[in-house]
Point group: D2
Chain length 113, copies 4
Amino acid sequence: MPFSPLASQHCQPRKGADHALDRPAIDGHLATLPGWTLTEDGKGIVKDFNFKDFHHTLGFINAVGFMANRQDHHPDLEAGYGHCQLLWSTHDVGGLSLNDFICAARVEALLDR
Amino acid sequence: MPFSPLASQHCQPRKGADHALDRPAIDGHLATLPGWTLTEDGKGIVKDFNFKDFHHTLGFINAVGFMANRQDHHPDLEAGYGHCQLLWSTHDVGGLSLNDFICAARVEALLDR
Amino acid sequence: MPFSPLASQHCQPRKGADHALDRPAIDGHLATLPGWTLTEDGKGIVKDFNFKDFHHTLGFINAVGFMANRQDHHPDLEAGYGHCQLLWSTHDVGGLSLNDFICAARVEALLDR
Amino acid sequence: MPFSPLASQHCQPRKGADHALDRPAIDGHLATLPGWTLTEDGKGIVKDFNFKDFHHTLGFINAVGFMANRQDHHPDLEAGYGHCQLLWSTHDVGGLSLNDFICAARVEALLDR
């Protein structure tokens, strides 16, 4: 599989500032995740996904939702007829944890074809 | 049913400024839809819905999505673990049409219990 | 709305043989629900629904699922690419209760257009 | 990942008896897919999955559905409150093709945690 090896990792409970990733770690992970960018406040990562109609957009939301429930880590999302933006952030660390990158990589794996 | 009679109407193709509702019409419809408010630009109506977990939030998104596909009128949505905000607007009239209020009333009907 | 008035009723907890409907009551309700038929053992009602692709079939399953969760009464279903069969029965009465007909009517209401 | 390497393969159009797998090939693939069994007629593979409530069952159906749509290969399913049975078969070969085992392996991957 051409996507990030993070996709085969599992989210773990991560709480407290010790689990917040620093900027070099963040940049390193982002380099493996095409299209994902840091939010302005540096506390989240986002990506927009386009779909051909609302059926496909809903299908994507459900697939991401199933994964998120199993990893017990949940995104914020914005969606419309043919697009969905995902935002991953870890409230419990006050920024980004490895869980956010694992989930972003798992989203990419869902779309590998 | 205690909710708006709009809930039993069906969306129709509505295009052009002639189908844009004026402010008295908008206010009249909003009065029948508790919790729905006009967006700042006056071109949409929004409401936030709260749920106990992501399963329930996804279930709501799917129920709204099924209705939207059948009415061929689609909302913008923002969602997280336990909430979902819906926004209805009619791009083809440059503001609000009756379709937006029909769909808002249909959403309320989905939640009548 | 042209469909059964049962569609605006809500499921209630119904347990024990006292809540099992007799054949005249069953036939009376079935007469208001086109396409629904009694199972061979007389303990359930079924209907097949056809859809144009798997997206539409999944959308229907989700819409029915949302309603079922809210009514706290759940169907058995069989589905494939372009169809879904629903079966309603009430285990707690050992046959059919009013809940089954309420849910069948609510499914029809989901498809009223 | 401990599951079958088939999970990283993609379905391809497979039509005609040439693409039907013989019994040794079928048995070889089944050995990598715990819990999957051959149907009585030998033309499909099935597995039952249990879930704690209807929310989880619907989530699973949606996750499988998203994968199935992307692979353009679709299962038959039977589901109730807390379970879902999947059946994979390839009508176009009159039995089992590699596509069925790829999809079964992808289902297992969805549940790897």
